[in-house]
């Protein structure tokens, strides 16, 4: 990493630049066994030496910035609860408590803040989590887009559940819980006011219910991840690299909404790299894949669940294309940019 440079927006895109920032600047200074696992949430074996009965704690935090604050399918409040709930759920934890930090920009309409807080309340109730602490700051006008929300969350991982980003093994199946790219495409359309006849909704949702269904269907789930920033392509690369395995996915099997596909084609974006906020990647032994997909499809958030690939072969992530070609899926370098023609 060039030390004389400045932070660019691309450093926050979830791609290779951001990984470098996290590992070289942050983890390098704060390294410890819990942090170093770099899963969606930290797994705490004990708290100040006190072990928990029958399980471990999962602990995570995330800050939410989104423009516009309200978008089809959700808003920053729903996103802030769902995102943290999902980070906990992806470790197989049952989310329990959240904190809520608000950084409010001078001038934000009170009615908008109320709408966001109503949304936080409804989403938390639906996910059966309680907001137990919080903080509010108001900053001068300029540059934060009205509101930034931070949530931290604690959940309980029962004994016997051991899900981690580094546990994918040859012979596993890769399962996705539904269509990819919905959230980022919805945000893009809303932000750029692209005039479409049809509405594209964000998939923003709490996945803890769906995760319970998955864990009930299979007691040997190896990996769960929610492909947020950087999308399916980036998250699969993280899984492949941390598990030191190869992954091949089949383009025909990957569910993509017709409208999302059309918008991405026009702008030159690849849905594989578009963020999701209500989708889970599940990696489990192939023999369990049928039962997992069936269980997911019976849940409202998993109706389009599908097996999209398998673990094995040479290291890296590969795509069997629609017409039978093979190409690698690499980590994005920075943000995807709309192209000229």
């Amino acid at each position: 990493m060039k030390r004389d440079g400045k932070i660019k927006l691309a450093h926050g895109s979830g791609g290779a630049l951001m990984h470098e920032l996290v590992s070289e600047l942050i983890v390098a200074r704060l390294s410890n066994p819990v942090l170093d696992s770099l899963d969606d949430s930290a797994e705490l074996p004990d708290v100040a030496g006190h072990a928990l009965d029958g399980g471990r704690l999962a602990f995570t935090t995330d800050s939410y910035v989104v423009q516009p604050l309200f978008f089809p399918g959700g808003d920053i409040g729903k996103l802030a609860v769902a995102g943290t709930v999902n980070d906990l759920a992806m470790k197989g934890a049952r989310p329990a408590y959240l904190t809520l930090g608000l950084v409010v920009e001078e001038g934000l309409a009170l009615a908008d803040l109320e709408r966001v807080l109503d949304s936080v309340a409804v989403t938390a109730k639906d996910a059966a989590v309680s907001v137990v602490a919080g903080d509010t700051k108001v900053v001068e006008r300029g540059g934060i887009g009205g509101l930034i929300v931070n949530t931290a969350g604690i959940g309980f991982i029962p004994d016997g559940t051991a899900v981690s980003g580094g546990s994918a093994a040859a012979g596993d199946a890769i399962i996705i819980s539904g269509t990819i790219g919905d959230h980022e495409t919805a945000i893009l359309v809303a932000r750029e006011e692209l005039r479409l006849d049809e509405v594209i909704e964000s998939d923003c949702a709490c996945l803890n219910g769906l995760v319970e269904v998955v864990l009930d269907a299979c007691d040997d789930v190896h990996v769960m991840r929610d492909p947020t920033r950087g999308g399916l392509g980036t998250t699969l690369n993280e899984i492949a690299s941390r598990s030191n395995v190869g992954i091949t996915i089949d383009e025909r099997a990957i569910p993509v909404d017709r409208k999302v596909r059309a918008v991405c084609e026009i702008l030159g974006f690849d849905p594989i790299y578009m963020a999701n906020e209500g989708k889970a990647i599940v990696v489990a032994p192939a023999r369990a894949a049928g039962a997992i997909v069936e269980a997911m499809r019976a849940h409202p958030l998993g109706r389009e669940a599908a097996v999209i690939g398998e673990v094995g072969g040479r290291t890296g992530v590969y795509l069997r294309t629609l017409v039978g070609g093979i190409r690698p899926i690499v980590m994005l370098e920075g943000v995807q940019l709309p192209r000229i023609c």
């Binding site: 294309t321 690698p328 000229i340």
Partner: protein, 371 residues
């Protein structure tokens, strides 16, 4: 956008397999085909088409990425404009990361310059109306696909009397470049996969001189995988006939659902009104006569170079990279000693690595581990 076109019909695997089998049957001798359109570059890589080709068939990427052929001095000029205090610089997204001599638009934005990515040039008119005390400069990069929309924007600005919108005219046109490629004495090219989008504007007739005078097979091809495979079959059939001497090269159109011989005459009139042909420098290739646009007399006041008197220092050529030879079809990205080592999309040395549609970037992203 009222209708969403279903693309499944152009992506059927059984049909693709049949076309691939035909390609293998036809390509019995070494043959090199070149596309000259960034969208083709990306589509070929994205659908993994190279992995389906027979050994002797090379798919080359010509100077079809507008960002890649934009000279360093013009990048520097855009950056210099962005640094001016009263300027809002507007651009298509792909220009953001392109390194100039010492900076990029992305870096200028991080440093506080007002640089905005547009999805279409008409948005610049709204920005101009909303910011009457600032100058809105649009970076006019692109081929005949994008230049009509910019011409339309400028014509609209003239009609409205918008005083604060100007354009950096860095446009390129395709036919003169194809003629140059076809005229290289040591050319290793057997046929052109002609650009689909550009041809909807200029019509397939634009390639007739190069087919006729250089005996170079040309097929205008669409962007779906089946389009590209079918276009390759048509080209191979023509190449074989030309090699056997049973036919002269001609222009065929595979992409019939969008391209006619005459093209979009309304767009052509608009281009002829707003612009006039000029000699243009293509990065790493050199100046090609009649291969660019500058503003016509009536629209000359929209030229940001004159309106803002942008000064830039002398630029030095990037050394050590073979982008020029790659774009001329003489080398592949993997032939370059800098490829994927010193030169990567994050830290590009040559122009073909800086844009997502550049040959080197597409190779890096999609073909690197396979080839």
């Amino acid at each position: 956008m009222s209708t969403l076109i279903e693309s499944a019909a152009f992506r059927s695997e059984p049909e693709a397999r049949a076309l691939v089998a035909r390609i293998h049957a036809l390509a019995t001798e070494p043959v090199s085909l070149m596309e000259v359109c960034g969208t083709h570059t990306v589509a070929i890589s994205r659908f993994g088409l190279r992995s389906l080709m027979p050994d002797g068939l090379k798919l080359l990427s010509g100077p079809g990425c507008p960002v890649c052929v934009t000279p360093l001095a013009e990048i520097d000029r855009s950056i210099a404009a962005a640094r001016m205090p009263d300027v809002i610089l507007t651009t298509f997204g792909d220009m953001m990361r392109v390194p100039g001599s010492e900076s990029s638009l992305e870096r200028e934005k991080a440093d506080g310059a007002d640089v905005r990515i547009l999805y279409g040039p008409l948005e610049a008119l709204e920005i101009a109306a909303a910011n009457p005390d600032r100058e809105i400069v649009f970076v006019g990069v692109g081929f005949e696909t994008t230049s009509p929309t910019i011409a339309a924007t400028v014509a609209e600005a003239k009609q409205r009397g918008t005083p604060n919108l100007s354009v950096l005219p860095f446009f390129k046109t395709v036919p003169a470049a194809l003629d140059l490629l076809a005229s290289i004495p040591t050319r290793a090219l057997d046929g052109f996969i002609c650009p689909g989008h550009v041809s909807t504007i200029i019509g397939s007739k634009a390639y007739e001189p190069v087919a006729r005078e250089r005996n170079m097979p040309c097929v205008v091809v669409g962007f779906e995988p089946l389009d590209i495979l079918a276009g390759i079959v048509m080209l191979l059939e023509q190449v074989e006939a030309v090699r056997r001497g049973t036919a002269r090269a001609s222009v065929e159109v595979q992409y019939r659902r969008a391209v006619t011989r005459e093209g979009n005459e309304a767009a052509q009139r608009l281009l002829a009104d707003v612009f006039e042909p000029c000699d243009a420098e293509w990065r790493e290739i050199g100046t090609i006569a009649g291969s660019g646009y500058e503003f016509s007399e009536r629209y000359r006041s929209f030229d940001a170079r004159e309106r803002l008197a942008i000064e830039i220092p002398e630029t030095a050529a990037v050394s050590g990279c073979i982008c020029g030879e790659i774009m001329l079809g003489l080398k592949l990205p993997t032939d370059c000693s800098l490829f994927a080592g010193r030169c990567t999309p994050r830290d590009p040395v040559g122009p073909c690595m800086v844009s997502t549609e550049g040959a080197c970037a597409a190779f890096y992203k999609y073909d690197r581990q396979v080839s």
